[in-house]
């Protein structure tokens, strides 16, 4: 039988109090290194590999310099790295859905749970951003992996010429946004269960639909596009931070009144 493994016996008591518990909660989110670090990195590198093959095929096939320039122009709109942000949304949601009931079972206050979770999300955002910033730097240095490809220096992240710290901050804000949005939706579930989800997604649909209808009817899509161009990546990050902070506050208020159900 593959039963008791004595080497993995629990470590001796760690004295935890106050801030210690917040850090402990943050660590709780990172217990599964594989899920938090290895898997997203591996998938990202896999996507990169697939893209490199595609770029190579394109470069081989397109010989006319004008067409090639055209292709490079188009590649700056690549969405190949978006998966990692969806992953962050899922991690944010799971962080609440799975860790919250466990944390309360470990006699943690809801306040400490939320602060610890925020700490974990900030830390994860920083690590992910640093990783992608390095990849972006390599991408620039190698002129798109030797093939003019673009995955981490696309337009939404400041384009080709952005300095590394600007890229890092853009990535960081984007990740934090995703973690918080994912987790705040999960807190709605913790607070109001299925009914909360139904109401939330119905309301979200109506708001989006209303916005689209208003813009379409007033024929102002051009203005919306202009606003995005005018605001630029930096401005969009600033706006995303508004949502991020709002999510942090709303999540705190909701989790404070939540009880995990069996």
């Amino acid at each position: 039988m593959s039963t008791v493994e004595t080497p993995t016996r629990p470590a001796p008591a760690a004295k935890a109090a106050g801030g210690g518990r917040i850090v402990a909660i943050a660590r709780l989110h990172l217990v599964n290194r594989w899920q938090v670090f290895a898997i997203p990195a591996m998938i990202l590198l896999f996507i990169l590999l697939v893209n490199i093959v595609i770029w190579w095929l394109i470069v081989r096939a397109v010989t006319d310099p004008a067409d090639l320039a055209d292709t490079r122009e188009g590649l700056q709109y690549s969405g190949a790295s978006f998966y990692i942000f969806v992953y962050a949304i899922v991690l944010g949601a799971q962080g609440v859905a799975y860790v919250f009931p466990y944390a309360l079972g470990m006699s943690v206050t809801r306040r400490d749970f939320w602060l610890g979770s925020l700490l974990a999300f900030v830390a994860l955002s920083a690590v992910y951003s640093a990783f992608i910033t390095v990849l972006a730097t390599v991408e620039t240095a190698t002129d798109g992996w030797g093939l003019g490809g673009r995955m981490f220096t696309v337009l939404y992240f400041g384009g080709e010429d952005a300095p590394w710290y600007q890229r890092f901050l853009l990535f960081f804000a984007a990740f934090l946004f995703c973690f918080l949005v994912g987790s705040v939706v999960a807190t709605i579930y913790q607070r109001w269960r299925v009914n909360g989800m139904i109401v939330f997604f119905a309301a979200l649909t109506l708001v989006v639909l209303g916005a689209v209808a208003t813009i379409t009817l007033s024929e102002s899509w051009g203005l919306v596009g202009a606003w995005f161009v005018e605001t630029g990546p930096g401005g969009l990050v600033a706006w995303s931070l508004v949502v991020t902070v709002l999510s942090a506050v709303v999540g705190y208020l909701l989790i404070r009144r939540s009880t995990p159900r069996g």
Partner: protein, 298 residues
């Protein structure tokens, strides 16, 4: 003695359901209390209230003198092992025993290791794949090794076999003797834990039916068995807790009997039998509505 847990007029409503209804209680420091009652009696809700996991509709709770809700100071001296505890999706028991010490300052890793061996718990299997009994073992080990000054066990033995349950009772008593603490244990297996308990609280439909020292409850009721006429004449106007009649024979449970009454019963040819804690609880919570009749109460 000092009370470490006090509740006053504690009430919890879920829509129309009164899960906990005007409960007032005191639990003394360093005692083992049994919280007994039927399914849905309100045991779990009461424990969730006392541990700050659920919010009271009304009433007050004092644990170590303050409300447990969102109080880090109270909560870190408390552990609540519940049958329905959820674990992160990908957790294995080894993750639980690696992370629990971060939260319980008195955690004893050696004790945890011993219990892991005792329960033959596989450390490297996903929690999702554990059997019900193994899942219960995870909770029991955390509850014992955490050595929290107040430990709540809510139906901790679900799915545990008789050997494992005995291990739990033995280890609980051993460790309790060396490291006195306050234990509140909710359970269905009343006979099994009867000898463990120093204090008993019986709850039914959200209300406290009984709240007494276990010692006082032992012998607080007696079953009188004999012919129907003899039993009826002996019982007379006493309060009857329970009554079974089968043909010409009757078995009636009454309150405490003094020595003179016992002699009288013997002279009438009646048999006297002590009522176990389990029977007492069954009669208090099950048969209350049927003072007469021939049906046996399970």
């Amino acid at each position: 003695m000092t009370a470490v847990i006090e509740a006053e007029g504690l009430t919890k409503h879920y829509r129309s359901v009164r899960a906990v209804d005007e409960v007032s209680l005191r639990i003394e420091e360093n005692t083992i209390t049994g919280l007994l009652g039927r399914n849905g009696a309100g045991k779990t809700t009461l424990m969730q209230l006392l541990t700050g996991q659920e919010f009271a509709t009304r009433g007050s709770i004092r644990v170590f003198g303050e409300s447990p809700v969102e109080s880090a100071g109270v909560l870190q001296r408390l552990s609540f092992i519940k049958e329905s505890q959820k674990y992160p999706d990908d957790f294995k028991p080894k993750h639980v025993f690696a992370t629990a010490p971060w939260f319980f300052p008195n955690w004893d890793g050696e004790l945890a290791g011993r219990l892991i061996d005792d329960f033959r718990l596989p450390l490297n299997r996903r929690i999702k794949k554990l059997s019900r009994g193994q899942l219960s073992a995870v909770g029991v080990i955390v509850g014992l090794a955490a050595r929290a000054p107040i430990t709540f066990f809510d139906e901790p033995y679900l799915g545990l076999d008789a050997v494992a349950r005995q291990i739990f009772y033995d280890r609980l008593l051993e460790d309790y003797a060396e490291h006195p603490r306050t234990v509140v244990l909710s359970t269905h297996l009343i006979d099994e834990v009867a000898n463990l308990l120093e204090h008993v609280i019986v709850i039914d439909q959200g209300r406290i039916l009984l709240d007494d020292e276990a010692e006082a409850l032992r012998g607080s009721a007696t079953t009188v068995v004999g012919t129907r006429t003899a039993v009826d004449s002996f019982v007379g106007g006493r309060e009857v807790l329970h009554r079974d009649v089968l043909g010409g024979l009757a078995s009636v449970t009454v309150g405490r009997l003094d020595p003179a009454e016992r002699r009288e019963a013997a002279e009438l040819g009646l048999e006297l039998a002590p009522v176990s804690l389990q029977q007492l609880v069954v009669q208090k919570t099950g048969a209350a509505a049927e003072p007469t009749g021939i049906e046996q109460t399970a």
